[in-house]
Amino acid sequence: MCRELARVGNGSPMDPDRELVDRTVAGDLTAFETLVERHRDVVYRVAARTVGPAEAEDVSQDVFLRAFHRLRGFRGDAPFRAWLLRITHNVALNQAARRRPEPVEAPDLVAEARDAERERTPADTLEGHERRQRLEAKLRLLATPHRTVLVLRDIEGLTYEEIAAVTETPLGSVKGRLHRARGEMIDLLRRNTYDWELPE
């Protein structure tokens, strides 16, 4: 797994973050700030799509502070970004496991009632923003391990090997989870009264 994690990144033998990590460990907090600026977006995106937007900021802060305190233990046999995403994955999973299940069905019923009303109006009046919100809500209905793999692969664009390393899951399991996650997502969209224009 360490070897897999070592491959995660841009393929460059030199980790572009290594110098900043070393400076942070030496006590230079401006270097740490640069690391946060460089990676905040990917951490925030993955957190938001794993635990939901309401908790994304708390989770992301937790990730960076944990990383800060563990930085002395960062050996550099994997890129910093992959190491950070692994922490993100673990913190987000813990957060998702701790909280009570979201009442996701209730707002969806409201949305579906609006759909029925909208059938009388042209479909293209539905704004992209609302469409994306609805898609995000469907995404959150997936089981967390499935949602994580779908987010990392189909939204963040990581390779299977990268996902295997970040989630500490065998490659075959990653592929299996992705297949099931896509199938579940398709079922969820088909059950919605809104027309997602999915071919048979």
Binding site: L29, E33, D41, R153, D154, E156, E162, R182, M185, P199
Partner: protein, 77 residues
């Protein structure tokens, strides 16, 4: 990080799903404006407090160990 989105879709319905997910990719959520500054401020005071917390933790542990040593013989008597 290698970007490899959209690959390995086997069927037309999967490809359509990836189109929809692509719309999420195109409109990502953003971290708040002062996100990095806030984290660095927290990291700064945590780093400053850490030595004291380590000392306090070590002292607390020593007290617990001492109490254990002092009280343990009485319990066994």
């Amino acid at each position: 990080m290698t970007h490899d989105s959209g690959g390995n879709a086997q069927t037309p319905v999967e490809r359509r799903l990836l189109d929809h997910l692509g719309s999420l990719q195109a409109h990502p959520p953003h971290a708040p404006e002062d996100f990095a500054g806030s984290i660095v401020r927290t990291a700064r005071w945590q780093a400053a407090a850490r030595p004291y917390l380590d000392v306090a933790g070590g002292f607390g542990q020593a007290v617990v160990t001492a109490m254990h040593v002092l009280l343990e013989p009485r319990r066994t008597q």
